[in-house]
Amino acid sequence: MPTTAASPKLSAPFEQGGPPLADATASDSALRRFLHGLPGVDTVGLEARAASLGTRSIKTTAKAYAIDLAISMIDLTTLEGADTPGKVRALAAKAVNPDPTDRTTPRTAAVCVYPDMAATAAAALAGSGVKVASVATAFPAGRAALDVKLADVRDAVAAGADEIDMVIDRGAFLSGRYLKVYEEIVAVKAECGSARLKVIFETGELSTYDNIRRASWLGMLAGADFIKTSTGKVATNATPANTLLMLEAVRDFREQTGVQIGVKPAGGIRTTKDAVKFLVLVNETAGEDWLDNHWFRFGASSLLNDLLMQRQKLSTGRYSGPDYVTVD
């Protein structure tokens, strides 16, 4: 880490022991002023930077490190209407033992399921160290009353979820009711207890990079442990550019408040090549403190098998094929 100079912005409230940037969230208008006062994002420049980092050439030892790190960062996900206990148990087995032919393969970070499957996942993962993550708050649309969303969270936590992936109210955000979004996150966080909270913005629906930066700060101010791009249920999910932007946000937030927040891109990351590009973004933007599954995750399912095939290629020198990894 380069040495950091004294932060130029408001860090006083946190230093005095209050929540970070407390005055920014004192009222709807204060929150609006704060979020709209964040530096703008130039679309062309942001995408050019993401593309430029995408040209890094990660080979041999660096690739081996990146593949194992990426596997250990996966929230292995199934979020289908057709999910069954059998499917969840199979996924849990895969998370604990991703490559039956090579026991040195790291475990994934978590298994991510709907709340009604959290208990099944928790039972299947007990003692493995792999976390149970559950989406909640009327995922993926988030269109429900607050008490319904909170009940959803309570259920998931009671069923053994270690992590809650909530969605924000995009309607409220896009209509400028930032304090409503903020208060909802605060309320969900209170229901989480010791579970870590991931806040999903659905960046594809927020549409502009300015909105994604504002949502990132809103989420961090409200107590998110992770900020997460998307549900995987809309057309545009995680991209290098929106993830780069969120990595800048967590980097800046830590510089100003001393609080480190995680980032989780989700949806659309399917290949080892993609995953390595995201790890390069982490390395060269937020820095190596985030190169750990406590601070960075991939929301993905098919990515794991591609990582495993590349891992086998590195260790054996030849490509195997889709029948040499398990389909769960």
């Binding site: 380069p2 950091t4 100079a5 130029p8 912005k9 530096p39 703008g40 994002v41 130039d42 062309v44 420049g45 942001l46 050019a48 930077r49 040209t55 890094r56 050439s57 990660i58 080979k59 041999t60 030892t61 660096a62 690739k63 490190y65 990146a66 790190l69 800048e248 790890l279 390395n283 060269e284 190596e288 190169l291």
Partner: protein
Amino acid sequence: MASVFAYAPAPESRSVVDIAPSYGLFIDGEFAEAADGKVFKTVSPSTEEVLSEVAQAGTEDVDRAVKAARRAFEKWSALPGSERAKYLFRIARIIQERSRELAVLETLDNGKPIRETRDADLPLVAAHFFYYAGWADKLDHAGFGRRTTEGIAGATPRPLGVAGQIIPWNFPLLMLAWKIAPALATGNTVVLKPAETTPLSALFFADICRQAGLPKGVVNILTGYGDAGEALVAHPDVNKVAFTGSTAVGKAIARQIAGTGKKATLELGGKGANIVFDDAPVDQAVEGIVTGIFFNQGQVCCAGSRLLVQESVHDEVLHALKRRLSTLRLGDPLDKNTDIGAINSAEQLARIGALVETGEAEGAERWSAPCELPSAGYWFAPTLFTGVSQAHTVARDEIFGPVLSVLTFRTPDEAVAKANNTQYGLSAGIWTEKGSRILAVANKLRAGVVWANTFNKFDPTSPFGGYKESGFGREGGRHGLEAYLDV
């Protein structure tokens, strides 16, 4: 400090390029030794390894080359534009096909990172040939020559004749493309002298001309030193001089050709202001500052070498900039992950070092990115000076290296005044989220190219050139045709 995620070496293979132990001058479609048999060595700036030995042109060779170009001119200029276009399209395609080879060659001879030759130089080289190939048969419609509003043809714009072209070492092949593509499209023939530290890509281009079946004598390449350039400029049968390089040499050329009737375009030095307002998109502005001054190790005439940052965001921008500079990867230019390559020559390295010493002696505060410099070759760590005023040498003189001078301003008027307060006028950048401010400030800047929320972006369709001591004439775009036409 060992990084957790250390990138393993990822060198581009040298085997794609076959460099001969020696090269001759390319005159009248043939490679030939210099008349007096002189040769000089070209070295790789990143390792000081001798790459090849090339012929050193003298006055006699210049005369032979100009005569060859003159002989070729009659037929070449009489070809229908559509026929000349076919040659240019063919050259452009061959450049694309051989782009990896040329990128590696350019990186070896110049010292710049393969990431830049691969992603910037070579695509732009091909794009320039494609672009001017498209103009070759449309010169009557370029807005030059006497054509009435009814569209009745008057005098057709005519080529000038033999163009003597002298190019620098910072973008050897790209500067060649900027010079040769418009000259050939308009029906001129050329004698081109590449810089003495980077002769190889021009010689490879000579081979491409042969591969494309270009008629003999249309393109002649003379490798050599300043004396060869001087002889070329002085040659009585040269009709047009095109020079890119230092302001001092540009002035000498202007004196030399005064009263001769030779047309000239000069693209000279710069001290570009990159203006960051307090409402700028900070993260992207930092990227633009880096691109502005550390692209090609700052050896760019239009570099944004003066950062003018609004006082209210000075600390924030500088903090972010230093953090970003600490991530730059300096080293083997052939490694695909290298951001900063070698300085082109020992002379240039010494010049940069001397100016940086002056900066320190005059009281500016120096900061250099923490990075280890290789033991062989010519290297300079990315450096910035803070606390710089208009009176400092590092704010006035072109350093032509990876050195940024940081100045502050309080109001837009002050920014414009400081940006324009230079003997140069080649480039400028404006960073603000406010569209009206971009337009207002851009209109007041006396610089040939003004970038808004970006920097060092090039495109063959866009004219490029300077105000004041940065030179005159425009290269690129429709405007670039005029320099090679009698209109």
